[in-house]
């Protein structure tokens, strides 16, 4: 019950993400989503497995504390306005997000779930979050919001991974989390270089190379 509520909350954060106009707010929402997701395994009653408990704690630590720390540091160094500046408007974004969510629900029906699967909502929620991440990635100008898009996309995959969480080897799970962490870290470094080189985080500066 609690678990379904958390999944529904995740889907609501998707909508909040595509409508937020402030970079700081988008970051905060992504962090909230990460914390919800990190605590999901415990809500699912899997806290009895020590390795899942360990992963849940480290996921919350990385997504709720370390990644926002990196984001805030990147934000502080840039003096430019804090608007998101989307390529497509907020209204259109909501419509796209809603369409993506509906499509995810339909897609989830075509894939058979294991009979008696405890949380059938994980699959559509995962796909919808993945779609939201892609939407943020392609429709926002700032480098930082693109990284948030990547983070949300990874959150979607994480949701799906929860369907297999009891079986996944710790090595693989730790590897995935570490890669996400290092990935965001490297992107953060590149953002710093971008803001120094162009005195802004807009990716439209990054359009010189073409055929």
């Amino acid at each position: 019950m609690l678990c379904d509520l958390l999944i529904a909350l995740t889907m609501l954060t998707n909508f909040a993400l595509v409508t937020s106009s402030r970079v700081a707010k988008v970051v905060r929402l992504a962090v909230i989503q990460g914390i919800i997701l990190g605590s999901l395994p415990i809500a699912m009653g899997l806290g009895r497995h020590p390795h899942i408990l360990l992963m849940a704690v480290s996921t919350v630590a990385v997504k709720g504390w370390f990644i926002p720390f990196l984001f805030r540091r990147a934000l502080k160094q840039v003096k430019t306005p804090r608007e998101v500046e989307p390529y497509i408007g907020y209204g259109t974004s909501v419509i796209f997000c809603a369409l993506g969510t509906a499509l995810s629900l339909m897609l989830a029906h075509t894939l058979p779930l294991e009979p008696g699967a405890a949380h059938p909502l994980l699959l559509p929620a995962g796909l919808a979050t993945l779609f939201t991440g892609c939407l943020l990635l392609v429709s926002r100008k700032k480098a930082l919001t693109q990284v948030v898009g990547y983070l949300v996309l990874e959150n979607g995959i994480y949701l799906f991974g929860l369907m297999l969480v009891e079986e996944m080897p710790l090595l693989v799970e730790a590897g995935i989390l570490l890669d996400l962490f290092v990935g965001i870290f490297v992107m953060g470094i590149v953002i710093n270089h971008i803001s120094v080189a162009f005195d802004s985080m807009d990716t439209h500066h990054l359009a010189k190379l073409k055929d």
């Binding site: 990874e154 991974g161 693989v172 890669d179 990935g183």
Partner: protein
């Protein structure tokens, strides 16, 4: 031995990071490369002992051998190259360069889909700083695109990996999901999940390979990095992504879904070749030209695997041929770039008078990569065309031949101007001259491609045969 191959380069990377002297640091590269290749050859001689997480099977062994040889050639070239750029700090460059080899060794030997994914993602992250070597706005843009497109692509591959794990979960298979176990019990896997998992893996690893239309990072990344990084990416990293995809393909074949997977691969392969051809016509930037050539050859690899049967062995053979010749192409273009301080027509013309050795090598490597006998790519491209024109199918083979011919014409248009054109007066000559250090590795690579085209030692041929059998799910 498995751990030796992974840890040797990673420890060397650590050593390079800690070495204070920028003059000494490049020497770690060739030493590590020789020790790695020696260890790999010893490991390939030994019997195959399936390990829990790491094992060197013929397919992984072949790809790792290609990467190790390519790495040795690049490592031989790099000290001479870095000596030409004394104002650039080489600490991060050499550290990342060496990490690449360790992570490629991990990927080639990984037996678990999750571990393969982790290795591929880490490989992406460790190569991003290489692209930013020149530290200007253009290389920053290239590195950013490489990171974002690569990370999103690889995220799809992760989802694909999880889908395949769920397919196994539906079939009652429990961890550890090693590839050999997945193949043995493939009949139990859930088909819809497996199919979607394959498509997602194809998109994900295909992005890292740079097959059209997922190749958009490639021209920028190859265009803005030093030639030696381009050689390593075009011959090494793309081969790693291809291997990851092949692992998924073995599961598909074992599950009886081979025709579905192969059909997709033939179509994507031809799309890649056609896309590359369009952008090769009148391509005035030498390094971007090589990037599109790489897109074309990734298409050829997919096409070969898609044909199935004996063609799979030729596709794997082409992987090696492509890596060797691409090495010559990227390094000779890099030399010419050094000499002209430009890589664009109409500034770069008449290279044969300025840098005769590099220009000749570029010309010969161009002839080799477009399938001129007796170089190695000829053997694979000729045989793939023959097999594609086999009974019951004409269109794929015909298209394949037309595209090969088109690419030859498109590339020759640019290259003839670069090599033989009237010497440009607009570009002052830089102090760069062809030296032993910047040309000998290229000659060695071209010689290897020539020898390989004429004669393949029987242990290597048997590795190719057993890899092809694995891809056909014939034990």
């Amino acid at each position: 031995m498995a751990w030796y191959l992974i840890l040797l380069p990673l420890l060397a990377a650590l050593l390079a990071f800690l070495t204070p002297s920028p003059a000494w640091r490049p020497r770690i590269l060739p030493a590590t490369a020789v020790l790695h290749l020696g260890g790999l050859l010893a490991a390939l001689r030994g019997p195959l002992r399936p390990g829990a997480w790491l094992a060197l099977d013929p397919m992984g062994g072949w790809v790792l051998l290609v990467i190790s040889v390519l790495f040795l050639l690049c490592a031989w070239y790099t000290p001479a190259y870095l000596a030409l750029r004394p104002n650039r700090d080489n600490r991060i460059f050499i550290t990342c360069f060496l990490s690449f080899l360790g992570l490629a060794s991990l990927l080639a030997q990984a037996t678990h889909p999750g571990l393969v994914w982790v290795a591929m993602e880490t490989l992406t992250l460790s190569t991003a700083p290489l692209i930013y070597f020149n530290k200007n706005q253009r290389s920053l843009e290239a590195a950013w695109k490489y990171l974002m497109i690569g990370s999103v692509g690889i995220a799809f591959a992760l989802l694909g990996t999880l889908f395949i794990a769920y397919a196994a979960h539906m079939g009652g298979l429990r961890e550890p999901l090693r590839f050999d176990r997945l193949c043995l019990e493939a009949a139990r896997l859930s088909r819809p999940w497996l199919r979607v998992g394959f498509i997602l893996s194809l998109v994900g690893y295909g992005t890292k390979m740079g097959i059209a239309p997922l190749h958009t990072w490639k021209p920028d990344a190859y265009g803005e990095t030093p030639g030696v990084v381009g050689a390593l990416l075009a011959g090494g990293m793309t081969s790693c992504a291809f291997l990851a995809l092949l692992r998924v393909q073995t599961v598909m074949a074992a599950a009886g879904e081979g025709p579905f997977a192969r059909g997709l691969m033939v179509v994507l392969g031809l799309v890649s070749m056609a896309w590359a051809f369009v952008f090769l016509v009148r391509q005035g930037d030498l390094k971007r030209m090589l990037a599109y050539s790489s897109v074309e050859h990734m298409g050829i690899l997919l096409f070969g695997i898609g044909l199935g049967g004996p063609a799979a062995a030729f596709a794997l053979y082409h992987l090696a041929a492509n890596a060797l010749v691409k090495c010559v192409l990227f390094l000779s273009v890099g030399n010419i770039h050094r000499s002209y301080d430009s890589r664009q027509l109409p500034y770069v013309t008449g290279a044969i008078r300025r840098t005769p050795v590099s220009a000749w090598l570029l010309l010969l490597a161009f002839l080799a990569i477009t399938g001129t006998p007796p170089f190695a790519p000829f053997v694979s491209e000729f045989n793939l065309a023959l097999l594609a024109l086999g009974p019951g199918r004409t269109w794929p083979g015909l298209l394949f031949l037309i595209l090969l011919a088109g690419v030859f014409l498109a590339m020759s248009d640019t290259l003839v101007k670069v090599v033989f054109g009237a010497p440009s007066r607009e570009r002052a000559r830089t102090p760069y001259r062809d030296t032993f250090g910047t040309t000998a590795p290229l000659i060695a690579a071209l010689a290897l491609a020539l020898v390989m085209g004429l004669w393949l030692p029987s242990p290597l041929a048997s590795m190719l045969r057993s890899s092809a059998a694995l891809l056909e799910a014939r034990p």
